[in-house]
């Protein structure tokens, strides 16, 4: 693992962001700074606001109030172009596996000759080389999620957001995905991933952000948060209680 993440565009910060619907606060984070070198996992029960926070950080949602910063600057298109996101349910284009990768490489402006080479490399990385010409819609759940991660990596992002990418997958498929995520992290891609799976957090996280009810209840090194949580909410969740 790299010690000094110098190329990830600087720390991601939020300041006083709030999102409310019908008078209920869905997200309310006064301050959060994410600059750890290893994967940061956002952990918490359903409805804790993890996915909302992730979308704010990626600029998919503009919070009602507050600001998102990267490297001290307001999040802008240049930052966003260096970010990528993988969704809980992979959204694959109705094209071949290779064409899904080609789509983003083309958008990045790579010439046809190098794209072909890049696609082959990416497919090998995801173990999908033999499926290049198959329709992406015919892949299994695990394969489809691998492809969507490869497609995100094809953007050469400095930050990769993942929103519960393995929640619908079996343990084997989950393991493969986790390995891909760790490899990307070891190459210097900042990983920000949402999960409600404590085991997954233990396996992957360098840092953990514990959330509940739209609030960040605890943030720190994974080992400390997971083993010696300071907040009652975190303790309850980690004890396996179905906290809501």
């Amino acid at each position: 693992m790299r010690d000094f993440p110098t190329e990830n565009g600087g720390a991601l910060q939020v300041e006083n962001i709030q999102i409310a619907r019908n008078g209920t606060a869905l997200l309310d984070v006064p301050s959060l700074r994410l600059d750890g070198p290893g994967p940061t996992l956002l952990l918490g029960p359903n409805g804790a606001g993890k996915s909302l926070l992730l979308r704010c950080l990626h600029g998919l949602i503009t919070p009602d109030r507050g600001r998102v910063l990267q490297g001290g600057e307001l999040l802008n298109q240049a930052h966003r172009a260096r970010q990528a996101m993988v969704f809980q349910r992979p959204v694959l284009l109705r094209r071949s596996v290779a064409a899904n990768l080609d789509f983003v490489l083309k958008r990045k402006g790579f010439p046809r000759a190098t794209r072909k080479h890049q696609i082959a490399e990416l497919l090998a990385e995801g173990g999908l080389s033999d499926k290049a010409r198959q329709s992406a819609r015919s892949l299994s759940g695990g394969e489809a999620q691998r492809l969507s991660i490869l497609r995100a990596l094809a953007l050469s992002p400095d930050t990769l957001f993942l929103d519960e990418p393995t929640s619908a997958l079996d343990p084997t498929a989950t393991q493969t995905i986790e390995k891909m995520i760790l490899r990307a992290s070891s190459r210097g891609v900042r990983i920000l991933m949402v999960t409600h799976d404590i085991g997954q957090a233990r396996r992957l996280a360098a840092d953990v952000v514990m959330m509940q009810g739209g609030h960040v209840v605890e943030h720190g090194a994974a080992r400390r948060v997971l083993n010696a949580p300071e907040s009652a909410a975190a303790r309850r969740y980690l004890a396996g209680g179905l906290v809501t």
Binding site: L60, V91, L93, R107
Partner: protein
């Protein structure tokens, strides 16, 4: 009714033996309607897709209007196109009245709303599914139009077929702007109308049978092609 049966048999023989007069009528029908559908697709699909992704005041009303235009009465369209193309009309100098081009124009007016409205429905569904992913990839709403159209291509074939069905079966508009001129603008439907007015009901019915046959054949061909495209996993996509 015996006379009717024998007349129908004669008409069928005429058709099966490839009577050149008859086949030139069939070919003209196809030519006019295929062109009309292609032009309508070029106009209607981007409009439908843009309407599916764009957000602007009056969007709902535009969609309602477009859906209503799907049911445009052909005779009214024929009349409007006639008034435009007549020598007394604004486009009279083009000398297009009573030509196949005039018929294509009328059919484009009829078919474009159908293709645009169906495209809007298909693309809107797909756009919902793709929305976050495309935004994540930094694809703007406008730039997402070709992506969505391409990915909806199999469903859009149905829209094309619906448009073709309307075009090839339509008589009210083409008889006004085409004039049903022998060897120039006489197509299947206007021939059927003419033969009916001559009281040659069996011949009219036999022509109707061909028309249905063409519609079935075109639909079968296109659905076979798109099925194959789907099965082959869109290898060249």
């Amino acid at each position: 009714m015996q006379g009717f049966a024998s007349e129908f048999a004669t008409a069928t023989t005429l058709i099966l033996t490839g009577d050149p007069e008859l086949w030139s009528i069939v070919l003209l029908s196809m030519r006019v309607s295929v062109f009309a559908v292609l032009i309508s697709a070029v106009i209607g699909m981007p409009i439908g897709a843009a309407l599916a992704v764009a957000r602007f005041p009056g969007r709902r009303a535009t969609i309602v209007l477009m859906n209503a235009l799907m049911g445009l009465p052909p005779v009214v369209v024929g009349l409007l196109v006639y008034l435009m193309l007549s020598r007394s009309g604004p486009l009279g100098v083009l000398e297009l009245l009573y030509t196949p081009t005039a018929m294509i124009i009328a059919q484009v007016v009829l078919v474009t709303p159908i293709i645009a409205a169906l495209t809007r429905q298909v693309v809107e569904l797909l756009a919902e599914e793709y929305a976050e992913q495309l935004r994540s990839l930094g694809v703007s709403r406008l730039a997402s139009v070709p992506v969505l159209l391409w990915d909806a291509r199999l469903a859009l074939v149905t829209a094309l077929l619906a448009g073709f069905g309307r075009a090839i079966a339509e008589v009210g508009a083409v008889i006004i702007v085409g004039g049903n001129i022998n060897h120039v603008t006489r197509v299947m439907t206007t021939t059927i109308a003419l033969e009916t007015s001559r009281g040659n009901l069996a011949l009219a019915l036999a022509l109707g049978a061909i028309l249905i046959g063409i519609a079935v054949a075109v639909n079968a061909l296109v659905s076979a092609l798109s099925l194959r495209a789907e099965q082959e996993g869109l290898r060249h996509a």
